[in-house]
């Protein structure tokens, strides 16, 4: 078939786009990192307590559903950013801890967090100005 339907062209454009993105190695990880639960878990685990139990994390990130918590923890474990350790007590004890790789990312994330805290007021002021000017 020489001619292509609009749907086919769209499909190909999508593929070409994906291929292009795949050639940009940072993109995949960037998408994964750009997740608020990832940021919060990394922040929690990089804090004062080197390792935390599931229930501790659950409390620390108050508001997270266990589904999202488990899901995010799994993906972080899969990527080698955290370790999951099961201690066969009764009931079972599970602890999570940053790997060296995870720690290195935590450092950077911490910078972002600091930036947010440092410039929060400035941003709020900017928003007020914008809103009044576009009222």
């Amino acid at each position: 078939m020489a001619t292509k339907t609009a749907a086919q062209k769209r499909a190909q454009a999508k593929e070409a786009y994906d291929a292009f993105m795949a050639s940009c190695p940072s993109r995949q990880l960037l998408d994964r990192i750009s997740d608020k639960w990832v940021a919060l878990i990394l922040a929690a685990l990089g804090g004062e307590s080197p390792s935390m139990r599931y229930s501790e994390l659950s409390r620390r990130l108050a508001g997270v559903s266990q589904k999202m918590l488990t899901q995010t923890l799994r993906s972080l474990e899969r990527d080698g950013l955290i370790t999951r350790t099961v201690t066969p007590t009764v009931p079972v004890t599970v602890t999570y801890e940053l790997t060296d790789l995870g720690l290195s990312l935590h450092q950077l994330m911490y910078g972002i967090k600091e930036w947010a805290e440092a410039h929060m007021d400035e941003v709020l002021t900017n928003r007020d100005n914008y809103d009044t000017q576009h009222a």
Copy 2:
């Protein structure tokens, strides 16, 4: 009414949670920053070209819908991270540029991007190991 329904308790718990989160100033900004389009726009604008037109951005971030692009640009402008300049040519020309505030965040984001590129292989290896061990 002295007693509360489960729905009411949930609503209150949600408010309490929101209040708690509001007391953490970094949280709001963190959520906004933890967005892949934000990261990509900041990366694009912080690159070689100091200012970019709407269409340039649209091409550079191939795959982004104009809805998401416009929406994200607006919020960044509102927060004072970028400026929007309209030049009344025919047709109209609109350029976007990082503010000093936006530039400071860009620096940090750039670190994250570099991290992602540097550790991409390691992460992919970790994923393979995880997948084979959990096959």
